[in-house]
Symmetry: C2
Amino acid sequence: MNSEIIEKLKWRYATKKFDASKKLSEEKLNILKEAFNLTATSYGLQPLKMLVISDPETKEQLMPFSMDQPQVRDASHVLVLCIEDKITPEYITQHFDRVEASRKTSRNILEPFEDFLVTSFSEKLPEEISLWMINQAYLAMGNLLTVCALVDIDACPMEGFDPEKYDELLQLRKIGLRSVLVLPVGYRAHDDEFSEMKKVRRGVEEVVIEID
Amino acid sequence: MNSEIIEKLKWRYATKKFDASKKLSEEKLNILKEAFNLTATSYGLQPLKMLVISDPETKEQLMPFSMDQPQVRDASHVLVLCIEDKITPEYITQHFDRVEASRKTSRNILEPFEDFLVTSFSEKLPEEISLWMINQAYLAMGNLLTVCALVDIDACPMEGFDPEKYDELLQLRKIGLRSVLVLPVGYRAHDDEFSEMKKVRRGVEEVVIEID
């Protein structure tokens, strides 16, 4: 698998034009959903949710809020990475309920760390917590982009969209979420000229520094 | 490869105890370096560098600045993801030099976007640019964690360290860098009890919302 991974990472690119007629199979979608759920997050708290949008009308409506980028309309599915609106003590407690239930760890052992997290989050400003959650969303995006490449799914990571318009249209505030990243996924159009372009990178010798 | 990926993502965990006697091969290290260089970044600007530290003395010295976590000392290599200190117009121009050279695109075609980026970055506050770069570092971390899992490298992503002490010890400011994330990599110790623990996740049905 080793050299195959690098080949796959070279194969991927920010897809500019999707083939609107090609749809992801349930099997491929399930891999993306599982991979998202398995993403590492800070303290294991997973302050993220992912929308998986296939409804054509919704995708069409999102396009004007996405700098008119047609990928949002034409991709098989649009993934929207969202952060929680806030982290309450209950949210943290639920995490430790899951740890207790799945690992059969006694709550006494978990409690000191649980108390530490509840206190620590209660002392943070909401903006600080948001930034922390946004970081986790980027980490999940990095995982998803690599997984997409490995299973031959084309994708286009997007920061350029209007989160407030997304939140309104998708009624995210009602369910305690805020959109932070968008990832149309599907299959490249055969005439996407960007797919043939050479990948431009600074190069390993420039971006890696060894301390032996 | 499809089902194998999910198995690998389940196999990975935040390694608490590394086997200090086991070292990553050159081949595996090269995969991590290549994967880092291939990471997708906003506008393709790659405002990141990665230190690859194997020197035992340096790793030992970093431990007290890493909340005394022994992984920093015991891992085969410690990766430190760094952001650029600032994004100058020259930095942006160099990116377009690379695009021009590798894709043979005429500069006339590139210029409007180049000018847009130079102007747009000159109008941003330094803190805004830092946050944007930190996001890219998290995305790179997400990519690296997945690549590690795929090639059977154990890893422990860390936010809990003292960036200023790292920057000082590693003399990063002199070379225009700031440390933002740490990733010890290597091989788990056979007696790391965390390696046997069940992975705790909210679950696909809770973190994924479908809009069909």
